[in-house]
Symmetry: C2
Amino acid sequence: MSRHRTDDVPERGDRSKRHIDGPLGIVAGRGPLPCLLAEAATARGLPVHIVGIRGEASDEIERFSHTWMKWGELGKLFGALDDHGCRDLVIVGGVNRPDLANVKFDFTAVKHLPFLLSLGKGGDDNILSRIVDFFEQKGYRVHGPEEVLPDLLVGVGILGDKAPSGEDRADIELGFRVVASLGHLDIGQAAVIAKGHVLAVEAAEGTDAMLARIVELRQSGRVSLPGRAGVLVKAPKPGQEQRIDLPTIGSETVRRAAAAGLAGIAVAAGQVLVAELARTIDAANRQGLFLVGEPVPQETKSSAP
Amino acid sequence: MSRHRTDDVPERGDRSKRHIDGPLGIVAGRGPLPCLLAEAATARGLPVHIVGIRGEASDEIERFSHTWMKWGELGKLFGALDDHGCRDLVIVGGVNRPDLANVKFDFTAVKHLPFLLSLGKGGDDNILSRIVDFFEQKGYRVHGPEEVLPDLLVGVGILGDKAPSGEDRADIELGFRVVASLGHLDIGQAAVIAKGHVLAVEAAEGTDAMLARIVELRQSGRVSLPGRAGVLVKAPKPGQEQRIDLPTIGSETVRRAAAAGLAGIAVAAGQVLVAELARTIDAANRQGLFLVGEPVPQETKSSAP
């Protein structure tokens, strides 16, 4: 009984969607999205080839036509995409920043060394934009995952059975202000707010580690909250390169938010991906958490103070 | 061989310093500052009485005239201060937010219940200002710890043997922007930056826990940095009530920053307390970390976006 609507999701910036008709290349980091996208593309009759980053992508990608690559094997990456005729690309799933001192560069990578070394510096968003530009300059078309699987974007409204209280609403509002303020400085995409108090802000550690911190804060008595309280808020950074690394939630996020004693989860509708929507809503209902997509205006970087 | 200067420390807002001539009351939370202040006051010939918050203050306070109180024992607090003639107060040292459901309120506390319950909501800064106002309305004069012990404030300049590199300077600059931006939302007082990348932002967990997170991020490979890299930046929030809860560093902070593999520590000069300056500089020199006081303008809340 979801009140999930997709019709009034905010528009995704000024990037017009480009039709994908050839084979789809998927450059895969962590998580279930690479395989979900491969399934969706296959169902639409598109051939797919997944290039999995060793140590990041799940072994599940071996269910599909695939190639494994290590950091620094740029020639192998281009070779695999070209061998399978992939000009359309999706780059999806989390990765750790590699330690360039331990990377072995193949010849193609060596030719692009100044570009690769430049990725060692600066905030995430800056790096992601440069990666997209790099592939586009090579003649690939880089697509957002929701162009392959539109259901991936969270819609506006209350997604599960439970609705946020008035107090939760105030925390949600503060949470979106925190995430927007941080985003201007290219910091994380999430925060946890409880009763008007910012308990945690995400930076390099990721949402899972941030939620684990809430468990510790409550157990140690450093934060005392009666029963279920607090909200996890997720939204992209203003001006974020949305074709790769959109914020993502899933049933595991719900499980961790419940373990942290939170009352619910609020995300920016149309700007956050949900892996396996039905399962995620199910998890929220079972755990008694609310799950809402908020119609947050999509901020651009130029509005930074 | 410290290049520590105190002559050009920025002015501390518009609050004129008030002479303390009677007995000094010290309301004590965690850390070494309550006893350091008691020693300094005693050396100046001021009688002192420490009221230690049970579960927070160190047993060391028993070296001085003292009273132990639990949360909710407001009558005991006022009684102890009045019995020892203390109209001048310093409130110092970290505390956990108590779970009001588990607090036993004495009669004086019950009379002030609406005030006490109001402290359960909102950000730290809001709460601290209300606590100061509360004591001032009762006729106490609340002083900042540096009014008793001026050496507690970090001065401008390079405090130890080591100086930040050009790259560290860029990280320091970004760090102060992050902390200022967060402060407008009444979030923490610290962040860790490395090579232009914001690794961690402090909220309710405190600086020690944030530094422990950097250790984990590096050990797990989620963040890869060669050798010593990154800066811990600390500054008060804009418009922060500076009489209680100024950010504090000490030799333990240096030890934890070194364990996190950081290159150094930068704090807002004149706005951050250092417990045991000589020991802290010593620790930085031994660990090979730089320690600098930066002349950061003291922002006011009205400049919030």
